[in-house]
């Protein structure tokens, strides 16, 4: 295990930020911490990095207890904070050189790593730019370059795509996957379920400081009753038709609104075929029909009773 957190408890006065929080992360994973804002993701990461004191629990990284003085452990960790943490007074190159220099003392090696980091995030044309001259997306890329320039074995990325345009977001996500392919273990926090679904090999869903479920996205989706949701464009539908659809196997909920029929299923196979057969049988004409598999939001909704982005 690269990271083992057990029974972590952290209070802010009366607020219980982490409630016996626990997780285990294996080497080579992209591990996603998914939860709404205020669920405890950043608190958990700050405790893991020993930036925050906690009330109870144990944290081990690389098999050793993590503490503020665990400098050998810190040497192999890269951190990309939620807020951009760079010197506004230094250029892009100087910033990356500074943060890389905190880990790598050899000048030649450092220079090579800095160049690689600049190439990695695509900031070649902005070396001499001060951070205030960079756009939001470029600034995020600089933040990432500062965090990963020393080629760490373990990288914490705390919501690195917040307030980033779609193109930069895709670049960042591709970059994270590339880092993982090059051997880094990634801990990735986000409240964007699409991102987590896209890049994470394993996911922990957390809310109110608790780990609600952990597993691959398929494992998580298989934990819930909710299956696919089928949507069909139908211009005319009687109550009798809707009742007929509701009677189909595995159908849990049927809604009809604005010429859109939505059929929620609780797993099972061939739900779409059965629905189409039923429509054909009752001679109901329809337009576009599509089926959506359950999302992590459905998982979160079923576990907590609320939307991920509430």
């Amino acid at each position: 295990m690269i990271i083992r957190v057990q029974n972590l408890v952290k209070r802010y006065g009366d607020l219980l930020a982490l409630d016996h929080f626990g997780l285990e992360i294996k080497e080579g994973e992209i591990f996603g911490l998914l939860g709404p804002n205020g669920s405890g993701k950043t608190t958990a990461i700050n405790c893991m990095l020993s930036l925050l004191k906690y009330d109870k629990g144990t944290i081990e990284i690389f098999g050793k207890p993590m503490s503020p003085d665990a400098y050998d452990t810190k040497r192999n960790i890269g951190v990309v904070m939620q807020n951009v943490a760079v010197f506004n007074e230094l250029t892009v190159l100087e910033n990356i050189r500074y943060f890389c220099g905190l880990y790598i003392s050899d000048k030649a090696e450092r220079s090579e790593l800095v160049e690689q980091a600049i190439d990695f995030v695509g900031l070649q044309d902005f070396r001499k730019f001060l951070p205030k001259k960079l756009s939001g997306g470029l600034l995020r890329r600089l933040n990432i370059a500062c965090g990963i320039a020393h080629k760490p074995k373990l990288i914490f990325l705390d919501e690195p795509t917040v307030a980033v345009d779609p193109q930069s977001r895709n670049n960042i996500l591709e970059g994270i996957q590339r880092l993982n392919r090059e051997g880094a273990t990634i801990v990735y926090t986000s409240h964007y379920m699409e991102e987590v679904e896209q890049i994470c090999s394993r996911i922990a869903i957390i809310d109110k400081g608790k780990t609600l479920a952990t597993g691959t996205k398929d494992e998580l989706k298989s934990m819930i009753k909710t299956g696919e949701t089928i949507t069909a464009e139908i211009f005319a539908l009687t109550d009798g038709d809707i009742e007929e659809v509701r009677g189909l196997p595995h159908v849990t909920k049927v809604t009809y609104d604005s010429s859109r029929l939505r059929v929620h299923c609780s797993g099972g196979k061939h739900n779409l075929i059965r629905l189409l057969d039923k429509l054909k049988e009752r001679d109901i004409s329809f337009g576009k029909v599509f089926s959506e598999p359950p999302t992590l939001n459905d998982v979160f909704l079923e576990i907590t009773g609320k939307e991920l982005r509430d």
Partner: protein, 386 residues
């Protein structure tokens, strides 16, 4: 030494504003030290007005006493009691004031009456007011003496003369030291304000950058030891302060040249200013750890540098400050710095080295204490609860 190198990169980014500050401070310090040492008239000389006193009454004790008193305060010119001659005397400005003691004045005064002394003055004369005051003062005193004493007229007049002769003692504080080397002592006193302001401003600016919450947390995630980081920051701050100190000292030598170099006091002034620079470095370090915004920084720089300068004797000499103020000021390092400067100024004739050594040690004590507090706070912030 990443932190150390970055320290100076950040300084170079903010150098323009720091240089402007510094040039202004130096210019003001030179102006003030020069202006403060301009020879100014400090002696009081009473001016005397030419007057004439015409006595149409008898030569009584009160009349004679009044004439004697006026003679002490003014120049009495003898003029014949003739209307034309009196007018001529006024017209040609031989006198500015003619007091005429009317007939029967003494008897009226003795009876407690209020027969006035007549006067003829040059139109628009301002000095006549003073003569009026002299006459009123004398008559008022004589009236009180007559009312409350049982002495005869001659003794009353003598008593009144003695009372009128009493003077308040005015002690003029010497603005020069025994050596007369006032200019550069002022310069080195003013140095306290300059180095306080520029050290706190410069060091806290850099420290604020390193203590931005996100950057600080990012640094704490790295294998850089907090102790190493603080050492590098302290080293950078020390070099910055020493550079400021060196420039100020060199500037003083350029401005005061031979008089300063030949005084024999320069080494001690330099040593004292160096010790105080260490104190200022520690204060700048502490302020940088505590504050987060530039608005607060500007307020703190002004409050600390101006406040300390005012109550510790930088702008106003310690000899003039009240005891309570000085007692409070003694809890501040600038007070001891100024004390040493004053003692250095008096060194040649008093030669009391304890007055120099002990306050310097106290300043070093302040620096150690402030540095320790700063390092403690810094360590406390390493892992926060929030």
């Amino acid at each position: 030494m990443q932190v150390f190198k970055t320290y100076f990169k950040i300084i170079s980014q903010t150098r323009t504003s720091l240089i402007i500050y510094y040039v202004v401070f130096l210019a003001i310090s030179v102006l003030i030290s020069r202006y403060s040492t301009q020879p100014a008239s400090t002696d009081f000389t009473e001016s005397k007005t030419r007057i004439a006193v015409i006595n149409r009454d008898v030569d009584s004790s009160v009349v004679q006493g009044l004439i004697d008193f006026l003679a002490q305060k003014n120049n009495i010119v003898d003029i014949e009691d003739d209307a034309e001659k009196l007018q001529d005397a006024l017209f040609f400005r031989r006198v500015e004031y003619i007091a005429i003691i009317p007939k029967g004045f003494s008897e009226d005064f003795k009876a407690g009456g209020s027969k006035p002394i007549e006067k003829v003055i040059v139109p628009g004369s301002t000095t006549s007011r003073y003569i009026d005051m002299h006459i009123n003062r004398y008559l008022h005193t004589a009236s009180i003496t007559a009312s409350y004493s049982r002495l005869d007229a001659d003794n009353q007049a003598r008593l009144v003369s003695e009372s009128m002769a009493a003077k308040a003692e005015v002690k003029m504080l010497s603005k020069t030291t025994s050596n007369g080397f006032i200019g550069y002592i002022y310069y080195y006193n003013y140095f306290a304000y300059v180095i306080l302001a520029i050290s706190i401003l410069g060091i806290s600016t850099i420290m604020m950058v390193f203590n931005q919450p996100d950057l600080r947390r990012r640094n704490l995630c790295s294998p850089l030891k907090l102790r190493s980081m603080n050492y590098q920051l302290a080293l950078g701050s020390a070099i910055y302060s020493v550079a400021c100190w060196l420039i100020t000292v060199m500037f003083g030598i350029v401005i005061y040249g031979e008089s300063l170099l030949s005084s024999g006091l320069l080494p001690m002034l330099i040593l004292n200013s160096f010790v105080f620079t260490i104190v200022c470095t520690s204060i700048g370090f502490l302020v940088g750890v505590l504050i987060k915004s530039q608005n607060v920084q500007a307020a703190i720089v002004n409050v600390l540098s101006l406040g300390m300068s005012f109550i510790c004797g930088v702008f106003v000499p310690q000899a003039i400050l009240g005891k309570t103020v000085l007692r409070f000021a003694s809890f501040l390092p600038a007070y001891w710095y100024i004390s040493v400067n004053n003692a250095i100024g008096d060194l040649s004739y008093k030669a009391d080295f304890n007055k120099i050594l002990i306050p310097m040690l106290i300043q070093i004590g302040f620096a150690i204490m402030i540095f320790s507090v700063t390092l403690f706070i810094s360590k406390q912030k390493k892992t926060s609860n929030q």
